[in-house]
Every structure is written in structure tokens, then in C-alpha cells.
Amino acid sequence: MRIEVIVNNRKIEMDVENNEFLVDTLRRYGFNSVKRGCDTGNCGLCTVWVDEKPTLSCATLAVRAAGRHITTIEALQTEAKEVAEFLVAEGADQCGFCSPGFLMTVLAMKKELQNPTDEEIKHYLAGNLCRCTGYVGQLRAIKKYLGVA
């Protein structure tokens, strides 16, 4: 089936299967920042924005994206780099495979939460798994980025 989606502010026509998930479509169309880490909606690696809201693209049927605004990290390089610099400064950038999804959630959190506490930050980001860092370094970095350290 053919759908029209606005990806990173550009209208794209995509051929999708009825049962195809958005993560696979986006990768097929070259948005390689979007990673898949699981088959059960548990890891958060595939997080993109659908109409500005962080969304698991592995749990979103591609056909449901028709007519919506999809944002991947490719379109948010300036903002992403700003967060990344804090992660890198902390050494909390390890394999990086979890990072695009993680950053998409962090950027959404920044818009949503004012002066969050540690608990609020952890709660907001809880769906984003990371096996490398042990999380505490990421938390230090994110707090500095948000100016709440």
C-alpha cells in the first residue's frame, strides 16, 4: 500500500505492507539512525517522534503514520549534538547503539519537563535501555544538559 508521510519536514511517498512496522519502513527508506533492539517494545532504541511525541516506531504500524509528521534524529542534528556533547564529556557514550532513541526521548523530555528531579528524569527515560553505561553516567550528563546538576 502507498502512503504519504512527512518525514523530517519533507513529504515522502512510501510503499508499505499492511503489517509492516514504522521502524522497518524508516530503515528501508534510509533513515538509518533508527535502530531496532527488540521485538517486544521493551528497549526504546526505535524511538522517533510522531507529531512531536516520542513514539516506539517498532510498535507503530507504518500505515498508521500516513499523513503524520515523523521526526528522526537526522533532522535534529544541532539539538542532538548539544546533548551528545554532555554525554561525551561524561564518557557516557559507549557503543552508541541505544543513543538515537535515547536522545529522541531526552529532547522530548526537555520540552516537557521543567527542572525535573532525578526520579522524574529516570521515570521519563525508563523505556530506553542501555546495556553499556549502567545509566548513572548518562544521568550525570543529562542533568548537566538540563542545568539541574
Binding site: 505492507e17 530503515r27 538509518n32 539512525s33 533508527v34 535502530k35 533492539g37 527488540c38 521485538d39 517486544t40 521493551n42 528497549c43 532504541l45 528522526t72 534524529i73 537526522e74 542534528q77 542532538a80 549534538k81 551528545a84 556533547e85 554525554l87 561525551v88 564529556a89 561524561e90 564518557g91 557516557a92 557514550d93 559507549q94 557503543c95 552508541g96 547503539f97 541505544c98 543513543s99 538515537p100 536522545l103 529516570k122 521515570h123 527515560l125 525508563a126 530506553n128 535501555l129 542501555c130 546495556r131 553499556c132 553505561t133 549502567g134 545509566y135 548513572v136 553516567g137 548518562q138 544521568l139
Partner: protein, 770 residues
């Protein structure tokens, strides 16, 4: 030092973090065939017949391969130096399938949908065999997991195939029985460590194609490019010279990618079809069709006198390698020889037992590589001994542990009659500092926190190695480019740890430059010299030492070249990283000028400066950690929460404090997961139950509170700038330290990991009854 021991940022950090396409699947060509594997639904069966006609007839299917289509030569997927200790016990596809998930057929099609459809059209008729599922009853079981007689071993590993024994080990010193008999106090307990999943975020994957010369090119998320080349050469029966392996960025490894779990499948498709192919394991396959940590049972007998002088330690172990023997003998022996030297005062020590085959997913390498298992048993027993002696467990350790300058016959690098000397250790300072940081004096053993919650503290110590003595080798090439910047070529495999950056730091230190002047290029078997790969905590130590040698060689060449250009004697110039200047101040050339004159100036250059350095260690200096856990136990539910985890580390000189700290934090959290909930479980039919993140829980952000990391650096004389390793040692202390803290909180000794609320609660109920 300007570069080493500095918190330098990872050279690839900004790009990997912001989503650049640098991983295996990002690099695969769009029209690569999609490879899928049809897998056994049975734990043990023989294929009576397999019909692929319908699948092959499906439009879009390129090939369907079965056991009839693969070389009949057994191999191992374990990434180890040749000759591998792991048995050659598998075929690419076998008529006998040995676990639920074992490969039955390989399907390649133009897209995933077609491949999946084709899989459904394959008809397999199985003769179901009685599986061996309980590793404690594998030895002498009526079913033999490897009944085939073309299994090969490179040397004696103590295999007794017809009794399901894959390998065995017997090591030690002194007369354990005599010392135990003479001990005033003896602890005798049995400990179980579970199979753990690596759960790296990037699942296993590889992409293959033929290059311009018709050679097989393999792009793989691997820790072991050179071993992959050798493994493929044997499995596919083609010369190594016809294979090239490239490693892009890796999305985590943790030892999982020290086993070549996937490469052979797309590779055989590419060889058969001539077309590009890729195989990407989904999470379910990653959990259930690759490898996990070896589950082990270790019975410890430990004897001491009344003053707390340890007389004897006896460890009788049993390990479950599952259906194939990847890393079976080495993980097993490491559980002994990297734990026993810790307690050097013991007069007699022994480590003995078997590794058995079962009809479950194979076990393999996972961060810690046996030490994690051995340390849980050893340290739990030490804590219990302290309890029996009514002695502070820290004091018991201080009294018995190995110290810098002491020798031990089991320590790596020992020769018969010539025990190796421990050249560096600050373990005593690690313990002292850790006690302070956790508040041992005030908190040991427990603090009632009011209501139904109670807090306890516990501790454990550990060691590991730095590379494999006498086996690991690394070579590094550094070239001076046509301006004053360098390229460093290495086949070590940074899997996110930052090892590329650390190598650049070391080279930059020697060459007195900064890491932005050093391009680090890893890893490609065609153009980069040999390196065993990144495992066994080897990269900082082994490849690091090779890097220093190469950089020193480069430094010498630069000085010699510039001296010649300036017509000054070599000992009358000095190099400060930016320029070579005559000592008398008369002449000077910048590094840019030197490089330019070497490569570009007509008639004068003609000499590209290329330096090499190779290293292989005679010893494997152990890093040490003292780990302390503070837990809060809910007496109503048995739930354990880690309030604070303190680790004080001696990894020698810390090459990069911020990257080292994250290594520690990440490893501790993986260890906390292993201590409290991670557990690979099977149904009574041998099917894995924990094949997704809902069933197999890894720590999430909200599970982790405080982690405290501190370094107490020794100076390792054989290490690069005094450094030892850090990658693996960090995972070992949480299971025993947390078990100890739980015991101190509620009096329940959990000796079988993970420490679930049920086990704690049941322990409390049983204690009440008694």
C-alpha cells in the same frame, strides 16, 4: 603526562551518539539477499527427511540449504587463538539437531517476507531423541549429545565424549585433604551461578558479498575479525586468502561477539549464489540461538585455623556448555586459576571438575569468563567463613589475600617450580577505601531502617587478567601522513568501550601530540596487521603495549629522518612533537615540513615513514577490585534493593579516568542484574522461556540508584604506562557482595543466583520455622 591519565573524549562519540550510519546493517547494500534460518523445535532430534522443493520454487527465493549442502568438516565458532582449545563439534548444518533453535536450513530470498514464507514451506520429518536437559545429570546420561565420531579436538582438554563430558580440569597445589583435616573450622557449601545473557543492544549480524577479485568479504559486528576469517576458512573449506573481514562500529559485545555466531550463514549463501547477503538476528534469536554465560555448580570446601589463617580451599565444579563446546574448557579453568591465587596464604588449593554437554543453547564467552562464576562461590564461602570465625570479613581477607611482591604458583606466568610474582596490587588500599566509602564501620552488618525494611552491607574482592599470557598477540602500524598527522592501524575491536581512543592517547603521549592528529583505523583483515581481537581484557594491555612500541619506533624514525635532512647528528637533535630542532638552536623542522618533504618533494622524499610494534605478554597482570554493597530488604516481600554499590579498583595507571569510570559503572550494573534477576530459563522440554526483554529482565534506569567508583592505582611494570585491564573484572563482585549484604540484613544465605524475592522470603520463612 599530557594524554595518558587524562579524561579525553572518545574520538567517535559525537558521531555514534547522534545516529550516524556506522554499524553493520547501515553499511549493507540495499539489494542484499535476506537470510533466515529455519530452526529445530526439538531439543534433540535427527532429521529423517527434509523437503525444500516448495520453498525453492517460491518466486524470490535464491537458495535453500540443508545439511546436505554444507562441508562435512566440524569447526568451532569460538574466537580463540589457533589451535583453539574449543572442540570442533559443529557443522554449518547438521542432520542431528542438539537444542531448540539449532539450525536446520538456511533460506535466502530477495526480501524478508519471501524468506519467511519460504521457511514455512520447508517440510522436515524428525526422529525425536531423549534430550539431556539437567546438567547435573548429563554425565553418563543414556543420551549422548555428541555421538558423531568426526568431532575433532586440537589437544587434550579432558573430553569424554560418550559420557557427555566436553572438557575437564584438575589443578592445584599442596595436599587439600590433609589441610582440611587439620583445619579447626571448615566451611562446605555448594553454589550455583546461572546462565546469563549478554543482551547487547545491537543483535548479532553480518553482511557478506564478493569483492572485485571474487573474494568473500564479510562485514560483521564482531570482536574477533582474524578469528572469524580462520573460522570461515575451515567451515567453508576455502583458503583464508580468499576471505576479508571488516569490523565497523559495534553496538556492544560483552564477549558474545567473541563467538562467530552468525557469519557463516550469509557467507555460505554468498558463496553459493555469488550475491550479497545479510543476516540480522532478531532479539529472540539473539537470546535463544547464540550463546550465554556458562551456568555452573561449584562446591567449596574451605578450612582455616581459629585465628582466621586459611589452610585450604577446594573447589569442585561442574559447568554446562550446552549443545556445543564454545569456550568450554577455558571458561571452566579460568574459574579456578583466576580465583585461587587471591588467597595466597592458603597452604593447599584445588580446582577440579567437568564441563558437560546438554541439549540447550551453547554457552560461550561473557565478560568475566568464568571468574564471575568462581568468585561468587569463593567469596560467598569466605564471607561464611568469617561468620563462623566471628571475624570481620574484611579482616579475614586482609589476613589471607595475595599482596604485591608475593608469588603464587597458579598466577598467570608461573612455570613449574617457578611461581609468578605479583608485580602490582593495591588491593589492601582498595579494601580500606571501600570500607570508608560504604560506611562499613557504622553499617556492618545491618541497620534497621524502621518498619519492615532492613539494610545490610556486604563485600567481595576479585581479580581478573590482562590478556592471555603467552597466547594473545597484537601488532600495530603507525604511519606518518603527508602532513604531520598519523594513522594508527589496529585490529583490536572497540565495541563501545573507547579502546580506539585509549590507543590514540598512548600513541599521542609517545609522539607528544594530541589525539586529533591520530586517525585510528580498525579493523580490516586485508590491510591491518594481526590482533587476536578485543576479549580477555586484552586491548589496553596487549594492543596498548604494541601501540607504544610502534609509536616509539615512529618517534625514532622521525628524529633520524629530520637529522639527515638537516645534516645534524641524531644525538644532537630533539623532538617535541611539533618539530625536530638541533640542540644548538641553529636548525629546526616542523613535523609538517618533515612529512611533506618525505612524501611530496620531488627527488628528496621517497620514504614513507611506517612504524610497527608487536606485543604478546608473558604474564597477564591481574587488576583487582574490592566491591561493597548496601542493600535494603523488604521483610514482607523479600525484595532486595541495592541502595549503594561501591567499587574501588586497581587497574594500574588509569589511561582515561572518565572512560574507565563508565566501564566500571556499566560492568557493576550488569553484575547487579546477574545478582538479582537475570536468568536464562528453559521449559521442561528444553525450550528457552526467557527469549525477550519481558521474560529476561536486564536492569533499567529506575532499578539503579547510587554507584560509587574510586581508583587506587598501582603501577604495573609490564603495562603500558603502568596500566592493567578493566573491562571484565568489574562484573565480578556484585553477586557475592549483594548475597552477603542480604545475609547480613535478614540472615538468609542465597547460594543460587539470582537472588530473587522468592528465595529470600522462603529463606526467612524457613529460618523462622527452624
Amino acid at each position: 603526562m599530557k594524554q595518558v591519565n587524562q579524561p579525553i573524549s572518545k574520538l567517535d562519540g559525537l558521531n555514534t551518539t547522534t545516529g550516524k550510519p556506522v554499524y553493520t546493517d547501515d553499511l549493507a547494500v540495499a539489494n542484499a539477499l535476506v537470510v533466515k534460518i529455519l530452526r529445530s523445535p526439538h531439543a534433540y532430534a535427527k532429521i529423517k527427511s527434509i523437503d525444500t522443493n516448495k520453498a525453492e520454487a517460491l518466486s524470490g527465493v535464491e537458495c535453500v540449504l540443508t545439511y546436505k549442502d554444507v562441508p562435512n568438516v566440524r569447526f568451532t565458532m569460538a574466537g580463540q587463538s589457533y589451535p583453539e582449545p574449543s572442540p570442533y563439534d559443529r557443522l554449518i548444518l547438521d542432520q542431528v539437531v542438539r537444542y531448540v533453535g539449532d539450525e536446520v536450513a538456511i533460506v535466502a530470498a530477495i526480501d524478508e517476507k519471501t524468506a519467511l514464507q519460504a521457511m514455512k514451506l520447508i517440510k522436515v520429518d524428525y526422529e525425536i531423541l531423549e534430550p539431556v536437559l539437567d546438567f547435573e545429570h548429563a554425565e553418563g546420561h543414556a543420551s549422548v549429545v555428541h555421538a558423531e565420531d568426526n568431532l575433532e579436538i586440537n589437544f587434550d582438554i579432558g573430553m569424554d565424549r560418550m559420557n557427555n563430558i566436553a572438557a575437564s580440569c584438575d589443578m592445584g597445589v599442596g595436599d587439600v585433604e590433609k589441610e582440611l583435616a587439620e583445619s579447626a573450622v571448615v566451611v562446605e557449601e555448594t553454589y550455583y551461578t546461572q546462565a546469563q545473557a549478554h543482551a547487547m543492544m545491537e543483535t548479532y549480524r553480518a553482511f557478506t558479498h564478493l569483492d572485485h577479485a571474487g573474494r568473500l568479504t564479510v562485514v560483521s559486528s564482531t570482536q574477533i575479525p582474524f578469528h572469524v576469517r580462520r573460522i570461515l576458512s575451515r567451515a567453508l573449506q576455502i583458503p583464508k586468502s580468499n576471505i576479508k573481514v571488516v569490523k565497523p562500529r559495534i553496538g556492544g559485545g560483552f564477549g558474545g561477539k567473541q563467538t562467530a555466531s552468525v557469519e557463516v550463514f550469509p557467507a555460505i549463501v554468498t558463496l553459493k549464489t555469488g550475491k550479497a547477503a545479510k543476516l540480522i538476528y532478531d532479539r529472540k534469536e539473539t537470546f535463544s540461538c547464540t550463546t550465554s554465560r556458562h551456568a555452573m555448580r561449584i562446591k567449596v570446601r574451605m578450612g582455616a585455623d581459629l585465628e582466621g589463617n586459611i589452610k585450604a580451599i577446594d573447589m569442585a565444579a561442574l559447568s554446562d556448555t550446552g549443545a556445543y563446546g564454545e569456550h568450554c574448557s577455558t571458561v571452566f579453568s579460568v574459574a579456578g586459576y583466576k580465583t585461587l591465587p587471591l588467597y595466597n596464604q592458603a597452604k593447599a588449593t584445588r580446582y577440579k571438575g567437568n564441563v558437560v554437554y546438554t541439549n540447550k543453547m551453547p554457552a560461550g564467552a561473557l565478560r568475566g569468563y568464568g571468574v564471575t562464576q568462581g568468585i561468587f562461590a569463593m567469596e560467598s564461602a569466605i564471607n561464611q567463613l568469617a561468620e563462623k570465625l566471628q571475624m570481620d570479613p574484611a579482616e579475614l581477607r586482609e589476613r589471607n589475600m595475595i599482596r604485591e611482591g608475593e608469588s603464587n604458583p597458579i598466577l598467570s606466568g608461573s612455570k613449574p617450580g617457578k611461581p609468578a610474582v605479583l608485580a602490582s596490587s593495591t588491593l589492601d588500599r582498595c579494601i580500606a577505601r571501600g570500607k570508608e566509602l560504604i560506611g562499613w564501620q557504622e553499617k556492618y552488618p545491618r541497620v534497621e531502617s524502621g518498619g519492615h525494611k532492613v539494610r545490610g552491607v556486604g563485600m567481595a574482592i576479585t581479580m581478573q587478567g590482562s590478556g592471555i599470557a603467552g597466547i594473545d598477540t597484537a601488532s600495530v602500524v603507525i604511519k606518518l601522513n603527508e602532513e604531520g598527522f598519523y594513522t594508527l592501524l589496529s585490529s583490536s575491536t572497540d565495541m563501545g568501550t573507547g579502546s580506539d581512543t585509549i590507543l590514540a592517547q598512548m600513541a599521542a603521549e609517545v609522539l607528544e601530540t594530541t589525539i586529533d592528529k591520530i586517525i585510528v583505523y580498525t579493523a580490516d583483515t586485508d590491510i591491518i596487521p594481526y590482533d587476536t581481537g578485543s576479549y580477555a581484557s586484552s586491548t589496553t594491555y596487549v594492543t596498548g603495549n604494541a601501540t607504544i612500541k610502534a609509536a616509539e619506533d615512529m618517534r625514532r624514525q622521525i628524529i633520524e629522518t629530520a637529522a639527515t635532512f638537516m645534516a645534524v647528528a641524531v644525538d644532537e637533535v630533539e623532538f617535541n612533537g611539533k618539530a625536530v630542532a638541533a640542540l644548538d638552536g641553529t636548525k629546526s623542522m616542523t613535523i609538517d615540513q618533515i612529512a611533506e618533504r618525505l612524501t611530496m618533494t620531488m627527488g628528496e622524499g621517497k620514504t614513507q615513514l611506517i612504524a610497527t610494534g608487536s606485543f604478546g605478554g608473558d604474564t597477564s597482570p591481574p587488576p583487582f577490585i574490592a566491591g561493597f554493597a548496601e542493600v535494603e530488604v523488604d521483610k514482607l516481600t523479600g525484595k532486595v534493593e541495592v541502595i549503594d554499590y561501591v567499587a574501588v579498583i586497581d587497574c594500574g595507571t588509569v589511561i582515561n579516568p572518565k572512560l574507565a569510570r563508565i566501564q566500571v559503572e556499566g560492568g557493576l550494573v550488569q553484575g547487579i542484574g546477574m545478582a538479582l534477576y537475570e536468568d536464562v530459563r528453559y521449559t521442561d522440554k528444553g525450550k528457552m522461556e526467557t527469549n525477550n526483554f519481558m521474560q529476561y529482565k536486564i536492569p533499567c534506569r529506575e532499578d539503579i540508584s547510587k554507584i560509587t567508583v574510586a581508583f587506587e592505582s598501582s603501577y604495573e611494570p609490564t603495562g603500558p604506562f603502568g596500566a592493567k585491564s578493566i573491562g571484565e573484572v568489574v562484573i565480578n563482585t556484585p553477586p557475592p557482595a549483594i548475597a552477603h549484604a542480604v545475609y547480613n540484613a535478614v540472615g538468609v544465605n542465597v547460594r543460587s543466583l539470582p537472588i530473587t524475592p522468592e528465595k529470600v522470603l522462603l529463606g526467612m520463612i524457613n529460618a523462622d520455622k527452624a
